[in-house]
């Protein structure tokens, strides 16, 4: 069965989410949001998916305080972060490029990253652009650090990084990304050429699993109508016939 790159990414991210009780999704995150919904559809253990910006029960949150308190209580099992820059230590920059504060390019700001990255056990990094502009040796501004000293209270942190080329796992002890698989049609060379930081490579690099027909059907029939509430444009673009 044919699938789009979005569907591959949704299925790939969902693999990290099965069995988690509560998955929360931040703003501007249609693909992670779809992955969370897919995980809930396929796994009875996923009790709750919270999508910031959703007005539909049961996906809405009472508000930001509700989400951050919930994470503080240890009741958020997975969350998603992106970054204008991400480096090899999993530091995330959502703030801007150049010398702070008068940066050449100013993005929006750190949002909840400087907190949730510490509190949520499984933070999945996701970026739709895989380039040396994004994946840099060192971020210009650490909105949220990837790793912390051992005495810092940090039940959470980076777990994986998913891009349109491949997926990495993050090794918190080695403080390094480890290439997990490359998506069909892409090469290790291409990944190296487009990644500005060092990462570990296994002897044989697997190809990312292609979503099964069953999973694609679930995405199109169960996930698409729900993600269309907070993300109508995304849903129209990906599933114009649904």
């Amino acid at each position: 069965m044919n699938h789009s790159i979005e569907e591959l990414l949704i299925a790939t991210i969902a693999e990290f989410l099965y069995g988690l009780k509560h998955i929360a999704v931040g703003v501007l995150s249609p693909i992670p949001g779809s992955a969370a919904l897919l995980a809930k559809t396929r796994s009875e253990e996923v009790k709750k998916v919270s999508i910031i910006g959703s007005t539909q029960e049961p996906y809405r949150l009472d508000g930001g305080v509700d989400l951050f308190d919930c994470a503080g209580q240890g009741r958020v099992d997975a969350f998603f972060l992106s970054g204008g820059q991400i480096d090899g230590q999993a530091n995330v920059n959502l703030t801007g490029i150049g010398d702070y504060p008068k940066q050449e390019t100013r993005w929006s700001g750190a949002f909840g990253s400087a907190y949730l990255y510490f509190l949520v056990p499984r933070v999945i990094l996701f970026r739709e652009e895989h380039s040396r502009r994004v994946f840099v040796p060192k971020v210009d501004f650490i909105s949220a650090p990837g790793v912390s000293a051992p005495n810092i209270y940090r039940p959470g942190g980076p777990y994986a990084l998913v891009t349109p080329l491949c997926q990495f796992l993050f090794d918190r002890n080695k403080k390094k990304f480890f290439l997990k698989s490359i998506h069909h049609g892409h090469s290790l060379e291409e990944v190296h050429d487009n990644t500005g930081f060092d990462f570990e490579v296994p002897e044989t690099v697997p190809v990312t699993a292609t979503p099964t027909k069953k999973i694609l059907t679930l995405i199109r029939e169960k996930v698409a109508p729900v993600i269309a509430d907070p993300y109508p444009d995304f849903a129209n673009k990906c599933w114009p016939n649904h």
Binding site: D62, G63, A114, L116
Partner: protein, 273 residues
Amino acid sequence: MNSSIVSLGEMAKQIKNGHKVVLFKDCSVPMELGRTLIKQGIKDLHLVTVPTGSMLPDMLIGAGCVATVETSGVSLGEFGLAPQFGSAVKSGRIKILDATCPAIYAGLQAAEKGLPFIPLRGLIGSDVLKNREDFRVIDNPFMKNDPIVVLPAIAPDVAIFHAGMADVYGNVYIARQAELKIISHAATKTLVTVEEIVDFNILEQPELAPAVLSAMYVDGIALVPNGAWPLNLPGYYDYDRSSIKAYAIAAENDSSFKTWLETQNSSSKGNSN
């Protein structure tokens, strides 16, 4: 009739140059009040966005009303970055106090409780913390070798927001936006624009009462239909996407932003309806 019901113009005059003004993120944004403040030529505001901001702070910054922005992020969401905010930061025209969302909430909750400070997990090792001279790291008094950030209370002079319904007794129905209570409790004054003012006491309706901000916290109410336009107000109207998009494009450079601003000054949907 409650004495807190005022005209939009009277309300705007209660906000002074240099005030620390707290704004809730999206939906409940008092856009028409913002336009009125721009016309009034207000200066040197210290904006606190809860926890992030979109079109209103961008517009106020572009119009030269703002000295400081305390925020976890300003962006137009799906319409892209906040252009006037970005260029003001780049040029150093405004002072930026970068935070993270729960730190904004925690600072306001400290003020709500009358606490001088409140601790917060996270932040340590970030450049957000490094650049905030007013955030401190202390030792957890209950555990050795456990550094933790403490944040000062955020006590704004004025909270402003737009809501659907108020009553003549000065109570405001805030529906699912429970966090509006936090900002009103934290602020010295709260000014609210609303779509409608009803003549029954909404606190006496058992099903409405849990989502009511009591008159004790409300210092001014102004009837401003479409007061959140072009942003949305749940239960009343959706985003006016084409107007927001037009803003996003206009705000990309200073001269088109100025032109856009002049159009706004000569007419606005909130006034004409």
